[in-house]
């Protein structure tokens, strides 16, 4: 698991931690504002601390707190949390071949700690699931470093936000730093023309479908972008195949 010495000593542990560190100030600003929002929505200090510590999913927390404040039925709050988190289900399909060598308990723990950021940085660093034991170790070490640093940073700033809730107005817009972090990470992923297409389609679809509840526009956008990229890939392959046979 995350505290194995074999991970700390592995060079990939440092690489994973440094990748997370680059984006950490942006996500820390998000964590801070999530802490502020929890307290301002009327959660008690204990409830805010508990939610920050165990839910560990900013967008799901932000979707849940107005519903809790409005006294919505429990199943409504949980269903909202589930819908907001549906993008993670897609990510888990991608992560399956990287995870199946682990026992169930470790798979669940790793999944639990894997935020959007850790998922995209991990699959960028390790585009192919490992086959050899050394590769598997390197991938686990990267995840331990990346998720570990992300967890400590996110939790510290959530707690700071809970403490400073009355002092930081949302209108300062500090949370915008989170968007800038993701912007940088997005550019770091743009390694081929089709990936730019994927980003463009997803961005446009997310705006068009914005009115959907529970952030489902994000899921629609990912589906549209993946479908379009696969289609263009297939067209490109068919073209190069026909030009080869024609020549």
């Amino acid at each position: 698991m995350f505290w194995r010495p074999a991970f700390f000593r592995h060079p990939e542990y440092r690489v994973g931690a440094l990748d997370a560190l680059g984006a950490a100030p942006g996500l820390a600003a998000w964590a801070l504002m999530t802490g502020v929002a929890m307290v301002n929505s009327g959660l008690s200090t204990f409830e805010s601390v508990l939610m920050g510590l165990i839910v560990f999913a900013g967008s799901s927390q932000l979707a849940a707190i107005p519903l809790i404040a409005a006294g919505a039925p429990m199943w409504v709050v949980l269903a909202a949390g589930f819908c907001v988190n549906l993008r993670f289900v897609v990510f888990s399909a991608h992560m399956r071949p990287y995870m199946m060598h682990l026992p169930l308990r470790e798979r669940l723990l790793t999944g639990y700690l894997m935020t959007d950021l850790s998922y995209v940085q991990f699959t960028r660093r390790h585009p192919q699931p490992g086959g050899e034991p050394q590769q598997l170790l390197a991938q686990q070490a990267y995840l331990a470093g990346n998720c570990g640093l992300n967890w400590v940073s996110w939790q510290s700033f959530t707690m700071l936000g809970i403490v400073l809730a009355g002092l930081i107005p949302a209108k300062w817009g500090l949370g915008f730093a989170g968007i800038m972090a993701l912007l940088g990470v997005m550019f770091s992923l743009a390694s081929s023309p089709l990936r730019w297409v994927s980003a463009g389609v997803a961005g446009a679809a997310a705006v068009v479908a914005f009115a959907l509840p529970f952030k489902l526009n994000i899921l629609v956008a990912i589906a549209a972008a993946v479908a379009m990229s696969l289609l263009l890939e297939a067209v490109h392959q068919a073209r190069s195949a026909s030009s080869e046979s024609g020549a």
Binding site: L78, S92, G111, L183, A199
Partner: protein, 116 residues
């Protein structure tokens, strides 16, 4: 400490934590041998960048569900500054960090000073 803690809210919070585990692990809970079709595996290579763009773009160009009117918006200038920083420093290890700093360096004065 502020507010009263009630058992209902605590149960909802525990439920949300379980949903975090469930959704983030869903496809690797079962250990039955099973593989995604090839096309789906290839398609998922495009999911990370799509997820980033899907979160970012509405946050840059929309305000309360409406497309922004006009160009006097701090977010646009900040995004241009952040993008310019990344594209000129992409070889550096901490280009993402620079993107955040450059973006906020433009965003905060425009947003807090000019009220954009």
């Amino acid at each position: 400490m502020s507010g009263e803690t009630d058992l209902w809210t605590v149960s909802v919070i525990v439920g949300l934590a379980l949903i975090t585990v469930l959704t983030r692990s869903l496809f690797f809970i079962s250990s039955r041998p099973w593989q995604l079709p090839r096309w789906a595996q290839r398609g998922l290579q495009y999911a990370p960048i799509a997820a980033m763009a899907a979160v970012i773009v509405p946050e840059l160009v929309m305000t309360q569900g409406q497309f922004i009117q006009g160009w006097q918006d701090a977010r646009i200038f900040a995004a241009v500054a952040g993008a310019a920083w990344f594209l000129t420093h992409r070889a550096q290890r901490q280009a993402v960090l620079g993107t955040i700093v450059a973006g906020m360096f433009v965003y905060l004065p425009l947003h807090l000073g000019w009220g954009w």
